[in-house]
Amino acid sequence: MLAKLGKTAQPWRDWLVQFGMALLAVALALLVGAVIILLMGESPVAAYRAILYGAFGNINNLSETVVKAAPLVLAGAGLAIAYRANMWNIGAEGQIYVGGMAAICVGLYLGDLPAVIVLPLAALAGFIGGALWAGIAGILKVRLGIDEVINTIMLNYIAALGVNWLIHGPLKDPAAGFPRTAMIPINAQLPILIPRTRLHLGVVMAIVLAVLLQWILWRTSLGYRIRAVGQNKTAARYGGINVGRTMMIAMLISGGMAGLAGMNQTNGLHFRMLQDISGGIGFTAIAVALLAGNQPIATLLSGFILAALDVGANAMQIRAHVPIEVVKIIQGLVILFVVGREYFNRRILARRRSLAERQEHEEKRRAETAGLESAS
């Protein structure tokens, strides 16, 4: 079957294969999840049905899923860009904190200005905050060659602790019993789009930016450079690309997008900074990016799927008596199955290449025996 796959060469067929493998990864994860649920003595069918209900059952649930998906898409699309440049940003979590904090500050201190001014400012602050935070790890990688994986993880903790201090101390809401900032004024809050739900403008922002990033990646010179640098630094240099600068830009974009995800949470959902504002979005976003094959626009779908799992988990617990943490298992399995895809891709590629070589060899021999020069 691998050989058969090797014969197709049209790009849209390739994308179909990739998409198929992504779906396969999700299916396998769900399958293993089902087995685990069975082992617990519960019904997987009931559990998955509950998830579907919890995620899509009514307008309220659906809106919750979409609301949960928005920051996942934002951060995930940004990570996709970074991964395309081979910058392994594991620090989305910290970037969410910093971006969210920046956005909250705008809300708290400039929240009296009209919404038309405050909201874009908050978004900008969120983006810049996240970008700068990612930029620290970026500079260390580009200038000093230090691995970005450990640095971004360390920065996660530093950011979380820093925010923790702020909400315990200087920015603590005097009226509240437990640590959090004051609520930001209504002007700084992302407006709700559908009444009686929590679905806010951030959703639109996510969709627009996912499309924008996709466009940037495939239709601009910058995107070209990002992809080139991620594939082959030597060839990129040879093509005249400034490798370090491109890597840095990709990192900044991904940090900024995570910062926007943070702003989403602070200004669209909770309207204040909390201790656990992120709830692991930074890590789930990694799964979102990987499942989307590092295609920003596909994060719309992968973000939606992973958000559905998270949101539906509550219903699963109530209705089917399956603990919500099973969903985390499934998400982890999704990553593991998706990354296994690399292995099969390599095999397909090798098969395809040897096929091309053999074809050429055959033709050459045929041409020689026919006494003609090879026509190529």
Binding site: W88, I150, Y157, F283, P323, E325
Partner: protein, 316 residues
């Protein structure tokens, strides 16, 4: 404040606590050392540790035997590490991503198992049989160093003993030579008949074993219960410990002690009304890791040459 600090009671308590907080870091870091020395980066330590914590707790709870719990937790860690081994060694995929996936998987797995066994919400947290400290005869009666060094839990002794043992294994046995060679130049090793895959499976499984053990220390060594997110980032710190310790067992000991000390002291300083917000104290290990990485630039890198690169076994 200073008169409280400079009492024997305070210092003894602090040092005792330091050894305890160091232990899980030390165990996990030593495990990761084996793995990284053979060239495999395993960032799923946090998740593996969590599984070890849970399984150790459960087995001890049901059997009443803390040591069985430790063994079970360690083996569970190996089992999870096996996933990483298959993905990284046999399939040669991105080790970073595999580690992230394992982390998420283990978080879900551990809580799920706990809930399944004990039900969704509990009024009183179930307690398991914990490990008992060993009082070494005579030595434990010495002033100051007696309680600090000789009245500890057995896992503490095991962890510290593993430091010279690991040094010996890595630098004085044939196995250790193979591990180091595989991590530096896998092709060279393969050419002389060393099975790169075999060595790497071994080290990754060993890493899982020790990290799982570190996890059991958390649930069976201190509080004898299991809490959500009990590992609290220790798995990530263990990674930093390996780097800060420059991939040497004794360096890792130093780094682990450093982090352990920081952990032990920050609580106490808080109680003393020390002015710096505790969050900044908690930040120190992470900031220091970054600084250590910066300072290591330019010097001959101590990292194993083939770290993180999948070995496809092709001679060019």
């Amino acid at each position: 404040m200073w008169d409280t600090i400079l009492t024997s009671a305070f210092i003894v308590g602090l040092l005792q606590a330091t050894l305890r907080t160091t232990t899980p870091l030390l165990l996990a870091a030593l495990g990761e050392l084996y793995s990284e020395r053979s060239g495999v980066l395993n960032i799923g330590l946090e998740g593996i540790m969590l599984i070890g914590t849970l399984v150790g707790f459960l087995v001890s709870y049901f059997t009443g035997n803390a040591w069985l719990g430790v063994l079970a937790g360690s083996l569970a860690g190996s089992l999870i590490a096996l996933i990483h081994a298959v993905l990284s060694v046999t399939m040669g995929v991105s080790q970073v991503v595999s580690g992230v996936g394992i982390n998420i998987l283990c978080v879900g797995l551990s809580m799920t198992i706990y809930r399944v066994v004990f039900g969704p919400s509990l009024i009183k947290a179930p307690m398991a049989t914990g490990l008992q400290p060993i009082h070494l005869p005579v030595l434990s009666d010495l002033p100051v160093i007696g309680p600090v060094l000789f009245q500890q839990l057995p896992l503490v002794y095991i962890a510290f003993a593993l430091v010279p043992i690991t040094w010996f294994v890595l630098f004085r046995t044939e196995l250790g030579l193979k591990i180091r060679a595989v991590g530096e130049h896998p092709l060279a090793a393969e050419t002389v008949g060393v099975s790169v895959a075999g060595i790497r499976y071994f080290t990754v499984l060993l890493c899982g074993f020790l990290t799982g053990m570190a996890g059991t220390f958390l649930s069976l060594g201190l509080l004898n219960i299991f809490l959500d997110n009990m590992t609290a980032g220790r798995g990530w710190i263990a990674l930093a410990v390996v780097i800060l310790g420059r991939w040497s067992p004794f360096g890792i000991l130093g780094a682990a002690l450093f982090f352990g000390f920081a952990d032990a002291i920050q609580l106490r300083l808080q109680a003393l009304g020390f002015n710096v917000p505790y969050q900044f104290l908690l930040m120190i290990p992470y900031v220091l890791t970054m600084l250590a990485l910066i300072s290591a630039v330019g010097r001959r890198s101590a990292a194993p040459g083939a770290l993180g690169k999948p070995f496809t076994g092709e001679a060019h």
